[in-house]
Symmetry: C2
């Protein structure tokens, strides 16, 4: 890992690293916030998965999460949202497919299958790397926004025991039933709908082997709510399966980081409790 930059922040450190990803077969950049407690011993860690068009930087610069993370003694790791610099045809043609839009799946279709394996990257490779190289422990939680909320939900639902808690802001709850998800899954996974179902939180709920409660915040003024996000589908699936979900609808909030910033402390507190930090 190559340290690209370091900024003191709330007596901890915001750092950016570059490393060679075996899974993605390219160089990747990620960011980590290490709270002051990490100077003494490894600390529990929240993995934050960002939304379409984002890099490792958006959450770290805009969510205002470091203050509470420093108080709690929680690290935060922010991966990028797709492989970078792999030079595939059409990779940069749209904001919702290709670069910046890896959708946290393992692609099976060409030309994407060689590099676009963000599911394995965020669930396995990156945690193993940071746990080996940085003072973070294997006590993990996961959260994210929009496409990254989808990523957080499927990462938790598909990996019993791997995370202590999960939450999401305005997640794509039912990607097989919305334009963003359908475009991405068709491109990365082909037209076999059974494969699609393996990456759809709403469809994973009935089979979930671990009943990790879901915390979801959603703004009512979110411009993507009706067409893309479908939290009601996930809530229905949870009700049917008796899977605990807390879906909070926040009047007047939109899809932006101003919404995330308004409630991120409550999510950190939720994760801190599960991680034994309070």
């Amino acid at each position: 890992m190559e340290l690209l930059s370091s900024n003191r922040c709330f007596d901890g450190e915001h750092r950016r690293y570059r490393h060679r990803s075996q899974v993605l077969d390219c160089e990747m950049i990620f960011a980590v916030y290490l709270p002051p407690q990490a100077r003494k011993q490894p600390v529990p860690v929240l993995y934050w998965l960002s939304g379409l068009t984002c890099t490792d930087e958006n959450f770290m610069q805009k969510a205002g999460a470091q203050k509470r993370a420093a108080e709690l003694g929680m690290a935060i790791v922010c991966p990028d949202t797709s492989p970078r610099g792999v030079d595939l045809p059409g990779e940069d043609d749209s904001y919702d497919f290709g670069s910046g839009a890896g959708f946290y799946v393992n692609a099976t279709q060409q030309p994407w299958a060689r590099h676009y394996r963000m599911y394995d990257y965020v669930v396995s490779e990156l945690p193993a790397l940071v746990e080996a190289e940085l003072p973070v422990s294997d006590q993990r939680s996961v959260s994210g926004h929009s496409m990254g909320g989808h990523g957080a939900l499927i990462a938790a639902l598909k990996n019993p025991g791997r995370y202590k808690s999960v939450s999401a802001f305005a997640p794509i709850c039912h990607p097989t039933a919305c334009p963003w998800g359908q475009k991405a899954f068709l491109g990365y996974l082909g037209d076999d709908q059974e494969t699609w179902a393996e990456y759809d939180a709403t469809l994973l709920i009935p089979e979930a082997r671990e009943r990790l409660p879901l915390l979801i915040d959603q703004g009512t003024a979110d411009q993507f709510l009706e067409e893309q996000l479908h939290p009601e589908s996930l809530a229905e699936a949870c009700e049917t399966a008796h899977h605990h979900v807390t879906l909070r609808m926040h009047s007047g909030y939109d899809h932006s980081y101003f919404f995330i910033a308004s409630f991120i402390d409550e999510h950190l507190d939720h994760h801190a409790k599960a991680l034994g930090l309070r």
Copy 2:
């Protein structure tokens, strides 16, 4: 004023407006955060002046100030850092002069004198506009970062009674003695050093008619500290003039918004006290 966007944030509103500035003879954009208390009555207001290359967006997206502002009932207004779209020769040639670098002075030199009058804009025209059009009161404080810290200091020092309090992060304390300030003042004000002195906080301190205490935060790992910022000169001038200054040197912090975010709540509390909010 034309409302460009509005985002719910901590139960208040982040808004961006466009308006025609008479002083600058161009269209300008500014941002305002209105805390929830502003729905009931006009609230005191902090004017935040940003640094080189910034627009109205940097502080609002990166400082994490809205949470405490909402708790305190304080509005925050963020102007842009220069006239925009005025199409002057050389305006975009460098990051430290012209667009994004108005330096909060009234230019006297051509071709800048017609538009580059950021001092009058931020001290007079913009407050008059927002006090007339938005639920903010004439109880004003002022703060800023780097070039904007310089702007905040001179705005307060030159206008007794206009602000209840002043603070700055990593301000350019003595612009007549540093490369950034010398380049800007020569370009905007010409070579008459007496004119320069009217916009230099360190040189204004001996003549200050109002003894508003100064709160200044400075990181020791700031890459611009030695060459550009000179807080020690301002501190010396304050000591000589018996002008109260609190200069806090923060070990390991740099010039970034990660530094500002780490201490912004303390600045808001400082201003809140002066504004009668706590």
